[in-house]
């Protein structure tokens, strides 16, 4: 009998299997084990990313209109954690502590959770719509949520754009409306090309933006300025109670979304394939879309329309670590958080003391990436 080659001809492979010969060549499942996501790989990558997130947040806390030395920063943070007021002497230390703990820390944390949420929503939308360019901003879900929130403001639901209870709800309503329009259009025909979905997003964006502009124009000038800044995507320093509210709300939504990680792998295969693998696709889609709109609505109502994180981050992470959503989703969330913390630090410091809306920075970073994908990676998209 001829000795099988390294790759093995098909017949020899089958013969080996059925004849039980040469089974020592394969230890059980070892070949597959090397080509799939394993627990140890997941823990390693997520651990490294978490560590990076901690380091990045410290760097972001350091920078600002006035840099705070790392040593002092760590001492103040430790002090805050143990409620230790000792070692603080003089007015300047007091001011530094207020800047660090009351202004920078909540804003950095807010940036992190908003970035996490946007990147997660991007991953989920890309899988569900089977479109690697999907992103809440590009598809018009963000502008839907913004319209909802703006209408809420017009009706007097809070004079600031912080986590007033009604605003996320208004944002959710607007977001789900946009999502339903986009999804209905995308699934109206049997198979819609990727670019048509984007086109729908552009139209939805245009309509909703016009309505938002209309609302802005009839507000009194003081409030309309705030509205404009918010629309461009701005992180502010929330109060701790506001921050906790947003954290709890988003964490619950994200945890519910993360429970669908393995199902997302299957859903990304398409409707028929997912059904033939045992998923009740209608129910799964409905719950995932609702969660997506919940997260987007809340994020938009606290930070406005920060674009492209949901598209750029999942794309880059997928290239680096593969497509399995059990790693892709949490890793993208961490990277999205780090990315937005960094972008916001740039927004605070580039031309300090004037602040740039962080949405401008993410759009300047993400837009060209989008064009690059559209022009040079077409093979990956069609």
């Amino acid at each position: 009998m001829k000795q099988p080659s390294a790759t093995g001809s098909p017949r020899s492979c089958v013969d080996r299997l059925s004849g039980g010969q040469g089974s020592a060549l394969f230890s059980r499942g070892s070949i597959v084990q090397g080509a799939i996501l394993t627990r140890s790989r997941l823990i390693l990558i997520l651990g490294l990313l978490s560590l990076t997130a901690v380091v990045a947040s410290l760097v972001c806390l350091h920078f600002g209109a006035q840099p705070i030395a790392y040593g002092e920063m760590l001492r103040l943070l430790m002090g805050a954690m143990t409620s230790d007021q000792s070692g603080t002497d003089g007015a300047s230390a007091d001011i530094t502590r207020t800047i660090l703990l009351q202004i920078r820390l909540p804003r950095v944390l807010m940036g992190f959770i908003v970035g996490c949420s946007l990147a997660s929503v991007g991953v989920v939308l890309q899988a569900l719509l089977r479109n690697p360019l999907a992103d809440p901003y590009v598809l018009g879900v963000s502008s839907g949520a913004a319209l909802g929130a703006a209408l809420g403001v017009l009706c007097g639901a809070g004079t600031t754009f912080l986590a007033e209870a009604a605003l996320p709800a208004c944002g959710f309503a607007g977001g789900i409306m946009a999502l339903v329009i986009v999804y209905r259009t995308a699934t109206g025909s049997e198979r819609l090309p990727i670019h048509s979905l984007l086109l729908t997003g552009v139209i939805v964006n245009a309509i909703f933006s016009a309505l938002i502009m209309f609302i802005t124009s009839i507000l009194d000038p003081n409030r309309s300025y705030g509205m404009m800044a918010w629309l461009m995507g701005t992180l502010t320093s929330p109060t701790y109670s506001g921050l906790v509210g947003v954290l709890v709300y988003l964490s619950i939504s994200l945890i519910l979304l993360f429970r669908q990680m393995r199902a997302l792998n299957i859903l990304a295969l398409g409707e028929d394939a997912a059904r033939s693998l045992g998923i009740d696709t209608e129910q799964a889609k409905r719950s995932i879309f609702i969660l997506t709109a919940l997260v987007t609505g809340a994020v938009v109502s606290v930070s406005g329309m920060i674009g492209f994180i949901g598209m750029v981050v999942p794309h880059a992470v997928r290239l680096a670590i593969g497509a399995d959503h059990r790693l892709l989703l949490p890793a993208s969330a961490l990277v999205g958080g780090i990315f937005l913390m960094g972008a916001d630090t740039m927004a605070r410091t580039l031309i300090a003391p004037t602040e740039i809306p962080v949405g401008i920075i993410t759009a300047l970073a993400g837009g060209p990436f989008f064009v690059y994908l559209l022009l040079w990676r077409k093979d990956r998209l069609v």
């Binding site: 492979c13 089958v14 070949i31 033939s276 009740d280």
Partner: protein, 300 residues
């Protein structure tokens, strides 16, 4: 001769029943009617019109017919990817409509006609997705749902069977058509199904892998009693590898029976509306189809 010119499908069906392994039905289809729900109410033609037949357990059934005859729709109904307007489908005696999608997926594996994967899952990850219907209950609801060692071993076994094991690390987006098709069959086999539904399984395959898939299906039938229902345009492949053949035209059963009965000049010429030559395979003696070739001058 075994009465190939007989045009009474009912009687011949019984005569061909010698190839049926057990008198136990994997599928019982009763007066099935189906059409796609379209917005234009003018379109009233049935895609499938009053279809009734049975598929025995452990049988290899080929479905043939011209384009638009309803083959793919029938396969979708059998996997409950679409729901019929009338009639019933029973899977191993149970009403398909009363079963959960999960339950069906543990019994029926589907290999679709064309698959488009946008995301760079590896071949091994793709095949492992076939284990999804068998996942253990995710008690903590973490969403990880890790595959067990058995799942991985099963995936590797079917990857060896389908000759894709050397592609384990490759992204499905980078595969050739044939490699992707074999990966999809491996994914369906990883479901450890009792029934395998295949839509044009050999469409992208070279001759070597066409023969390979034909014999793998026969081997699985013999070793595990797998029931196979496959759609193909390749009448010769169907004739060689199927126990029985279902000839569909305009949503109706034209013939159903063993290859000798269905792969028959009269029936094929009627359905395909062109001249077709049928003779015998020199080795197996099963019917062999040949296209008439270039138009020859009269008498040539």
């Amino acid at each position: 001769m075994r009465g190939v010119s007989d045009s009474q499908p009912g009687r011949l069906q019984e005569r061909c029943a010698t190839s049926v392994v057990k008198p136990y039905y994997a599928y019982e289809v009763q007066s099935l009617r189906f059409r796609y729900q379209s917005t234009e109410s003018t379109n009233q033609t049935w895609i499938l019109d009053d279809l009734s037949f049975q598929v025995a357990e452990g049988e290899v059934l080929g479905i043939v017919g011209p384009n638009g005859s309803g083959k793919t729709s029938l396969l979708k109904l059998l996997a409950r990817l679409a729901n019929p307007q009338q009639g019933a489908v029973r899977l191993f005696g149970r009403d398909l409509m009363g079963m959960g999608q999960d339950e069906i997926a543990r019994v029926v594996g589907v290999v679709p006609q064309e698959t488009q994967q946008l995301f760079p899952f590896t071949v091994a990850e793709t095949v492992l997705m076939g284990r999804f219907p068998h996942r253990a209950r995710d008690r903590w609801g973490t969403g990880f749902g890790w595959e067990s060692g058995d799942d991985v071993a099963i995936a590797e076994e079917v990857m060896i069977t389908m000759d894709v094991v050397h592609l384990a690390q490759r992204a499905v987006t980078d595969l050739s058509g044939g490699e992707r098709q074999r990966t999809m069959i491996a994914r369906a086999l990883a479901q450890t199904p009792k029934v395998l539904l295949l839509d044009e399984p050999t469409a992208f395959l070279d001759l070597h892998h066409q023969v390979e898939i034909g014999s793998v299906l026969r081997r699985l039938k013999a070793a595990r009693g797998l029931t196979v229902i496959l759609i193909s345009h390749d009448l010769n492949l169907v004739s060689q590898y199927c126990d029985r053949i279902l000839l569909l035209d305009q949503g109706r059963v034209i013939r159903l029976g063993c290859p000798e009965h269905v792969i028959e000049q009269g029936a094929l010429e009627l359905v395909y509306r062109c001249r077709i030559l049928v003779d015998r395979h020199p080795e197996t003696g099963l019917p062999r189809v040949t296209l008439p070739g270039r138009c020859m001058p009269d008498g040539a």
